[in-house]
Amino acid sequence: MKRILAAAVLAGLAVAQGVTSASADALAEVREKGVLRVAVYKDFPPYSYTDAQGRMTGLDVEIGKALAGKMGVAMALVPIPASDESMEDDLRNAVWKGHYMGWGKADVMLHVPVNADFQKRVDKVALFAPYYRELVAVAYDKTKIPDLNSLDVFRTEKVGVEMRTVADQYLITTSNHAYINNVRHFRTVDAACEAFKAGEVPAFAAQRGQLEHCLGPDRSRFVIGTVPAPDVRVFEWNVGMAVKADETGLRDALGEAMEALRKDGSLQKIFDRQAMSLNTPAN
């Protein structure tokens, strides 16, 4: 049994399951135990994923470690599977309730979009401390696509996307499905990257961090450019974190830790190590 639709209205759920907000002081508990539980997505390269040695690694894992370090505690990672519906589910599982299978429930979740509209919809959590700005971009092979100044290039050229992403949704529907037959779908961002590097598709649309990580050192053959579709707001957003709405002490402590990481240059170093650009969050 399935439902299709993203962005469930969760008010009904909260009523149904009798959710109450416990007002335990999470910050005191973190300090007492000396452990900060950090939720990150499983299988989400290059932000959080398992490396060849079987260890969780990636941008968000490094940031979690650095945050815990600044607070003088150890990090305990809580990798969570992404809901195929919407992030509201992930925030419920990772931050304010836990999943009914018994997993989830961390002190803080990373890689959460931070903006006022989204905050209104997820009132059980506080969104704060954006650490960078993500954007959807297109990587392309200069020898095949000299200039990507219009999406009309994809009337004739193929473009790879990870399925069920905004790049996928946008490219197959825009301009009255003009590009639908040239959009090649891959199950994972890694598979799309491999196909792109192997020359199976001359272009690859994904989040900029994913493109940068994919191309790595041999970036010179390729261009990473913005999606040539003006006024499309969905292509940029701030990435930060979330704690339970009433955990103001923990929120402030994490916010200060993030600010300190930015000021002392540690954040920049983490991005450099991941070969990713640190774009400053916008208001």
Binding site: G18, M87, M163, R164, T165, Y170, I172, N181, H185
Partner: protein
């Protein structure tokens, strides 16, 4: 004929060879037993649907409209521990034992006379699985001395009926790729036949057949056009032809991840030798991304159980945009119309139409509404078999990329359907189908920007709403010859349990409020009810033991409604969870 291939049957095989009785190769439940189940044999309940055709009709009549006032509990059995979530199973009864599956992929064997627990098998589920819709299981299958059921991490497990020990265990697919399973398997001609469940992450529906005694795959048939089917023999994989024609009703490469999950499993019709199975909604959910009919999503299929070939298909919702899964059960029956008897099949679809098809060829005979409101179509064209759409469809989320919230559209039935998974029954004495329906719609709109896995996404918001103040659920008796609703019973909360009907002129079903109820099959008059302590969303069964007729039903509220109910959830928020099996018989003073 199947051969015995595991140690437990060596003795039986030896004896049968000695006596030269070839057909006795399988000890325990045989193919003949399954053919007789619910038809000639009423001392057991051997298969999902009670009989192969899925009528959920029993010829037993000791318990009848006159005697039912004396129906009392014989015993009750608690599943125990903290895992009290939705109990949607249909119990099986064989050889003095009841086999019942429970939430979190558990299965119990209980002494049918006393309710004493004989064994329990608790499948060990991996960490971090993400079942879409509660942790339910709908039941098991019996074959030989095995009891076979599927698990939330997409495995198929066969246990010894006596000991509960694992005899074989096969991975149906990778749970990490979003696959899961909760439907009851069926066994046809020695093959255990299953569908697959899964969400949006590129799952493609298919039907698999495995040797019931060993678990080895025999054939697999994808249900989305463009995919190759295969047969397997002695470790050799052989192509068995494409499903449909690649790219005919799908744009681009979208058929490759096209959905159509067969998450409810199927029934078998011995008369036409067909597995009849429904397919789920196409993926992705946004219909605007996949112009075309998207075959064979949201369809009914007849499949040859020996080869996996699709004999016919009938699509109920072309280019589905409402999550009108076509998975609902296809119940075979003899339709008497204009003095003729037609081999027909009935289906109450999520989309609100009750379809009658000719089950020899899939041709549409009739399609009539079984709910009071359908915003998406005014009817079905009997010539073309296609719905007559109103044009009321949810908007295109890519249009919200400009940052504005889209227009709200009210759509009925809601995505939970005019009828969801809960199986209906057909009574050959009254000639009526008994359909557990729900009256609800949904507001649906495009969100300016939603987020998925930390990234922007063009999503839709929705809110399920009851259509009426006084009821959502409606058990309806439908005459398949005319489409007329002969009687109805209204229930305040949604109906979410299976139906049983008997020759005693009775119809049984449960309610989330906790009652098992019995109705007069002809008039719909409520004759009996019993409070089981938690919501009844399971499937009642009946059998005869030592000259007495018994009724069994699981009790335990849960399933998709509390998770996805929107405004409806407010009506059911007071209901408490549970997990037990109730067994009833007539009181003797």
């Amino acid at each position: 004929m199947m051969h015995a291939r595991f140690p437990m049957n060596r003795l039986a095989l030896g004896v049968s060879l000695l006596l030269g009785v070839a057909s006795a190769a399988v000890a325990g439940v045989t193919d003949q037993n399954l053919l007789d189940a619910g038809v000639k044999d009423n001392k057991s309940v051997l298969t999902w649907g009670i009989d192969y055709q899925g009528t959920r009709y029993s010829p037993l009549k000791q318990i009848n409209a006159d005697t039912i006032k004396d129906l009392v509990p014989a015993w009750t059995f608690s599943y125990g521990d903290e895992k009290q979530r939705g109990q949607e199973a249909q119990p099986l009864v064989y050889n003095g034992k009841i086999f019942v599956t429970a939430s979190y992929s558990r299965i119990y064997a209980v002494d049918a006379k006393t309710g004493k627990k004989l064994w329990v098998y608790e499948h060990r589920l991996p960490d971090g699985i993400l079942p879409c819709c509660d942790v339910i299981n709908r039941g098991a299958a019996l074959y030989g001395d095995l009891v076979i059921y599927s698990t939330l991490d997409a495995q198929l497990v066969a246990l010894n009926q006596e000991t509960g020990k694992v005899v074989w265990r096969e991975k149906m697919d990778n749970y990490k790729d979003g696959y899961s399973n909760s439907a009851a398997p069926i066994v046809v001609k020695g093959l255990v036949i299953t569908g697959v469940s899964g969400g949006e992450f590129g799952v493609v529906g298919r039907v698999d057949a495995r040797d019931a005694l060993t678990g080895k795959l025999v054939w697999t048939r994808p249900v989305i056009e463009g995919h190759m089917g295969y047969t397997f023999k002695d470790g050799q994989k052989t192509e068995a032809g494409l499903t449909g024609e690649t790219g005919k009703t799908w744009p681009g490469d979208l058929w490759q991840t096209g959905g159509g999950a067969t998450w409810l499993g199927g029934y078998y019709d011995p008369e036409t030798d067909s597995v009849l199975i429904g397919t789920g909604n196409p993926a992705p959910w946004n219909a605007h991304t996949r112009p075309g009919d998207n075959l064979y999503s949201a369809s009914s299929l007849a499949i040859d159980p020996s080869t996996g070939k699709i004999k016919w298909h009938y699509q109920t919702t072309p280019n589905d945009g409402w999550d009108f899964d076509g998975v609902n059960e296809l119940v075979s029956f003899d339709l008497k119309k204009d003095g003729k008897t037609i081999k027909a099949v009935g289906k109450a679809d999520r989309n609100g139409f009750f379809y009658v098809l000719d089950r020899t060829n899939g041709k549409l005979i009739s399609a009539t509404p079984f709910v009071t409101k359908q915003t998406w179509a005014t009817g079905v064209d009997l010539k073309t078999g296609r719905p007559i759409e109103t044009g009321v469809r949810p908007g295109d989320p890519s249009k919200s990329a400009d940052g504005k919230k889209g227009e709200t559209v009210f759509s009925a039935p809601s995505f939970l359907g005019g009828k969801n998974w809960m199986p209906m029954a057909y009574n050959k004495d009254t000639g009526l189908f008994y359909v557990p329906a729900n009256e609800w719609g949904m507001d649906i709109w495009n969100e300016p920007i939603t987020y998925k896995k930390g990234a922007a996404y063009l999503g839709a918001g929705f809110n399920i709403k009851p259509l009426y103040d006084d009821y959502i659920g409606a058990l309806r008796a439908i005459d398949p010859a005319t489409g007329k609703i002969v009687w109805e019973y209204k229930n305040y909360s949604p109906l979410w349990g299976g139906v049983l009907t008997t020759a005693g002129n009775l119809v049984f079903t449960g309610t989330p409020e906790g009652f098992l109820k019995a109705f007069d099959a002809k008039t719909g008059k409520e004759l009996w009810s019993y409070q089981t302590g938690s919501g009844v969303v399971g499937c009642p069964v009946t059998w005869e033991m030592d000259g007495e007729q018994y009724i069994a039903v699981p009790s335990g509220w849960g399933g998709a409604v509390p998770l996805w109910g929107g405004e409806v959830a407010k009506r059911i928020s007071y209901l408490t969870q549970g997990g037990s099996l109730w067994v009833f018989k007539l009181h003797k003073s």
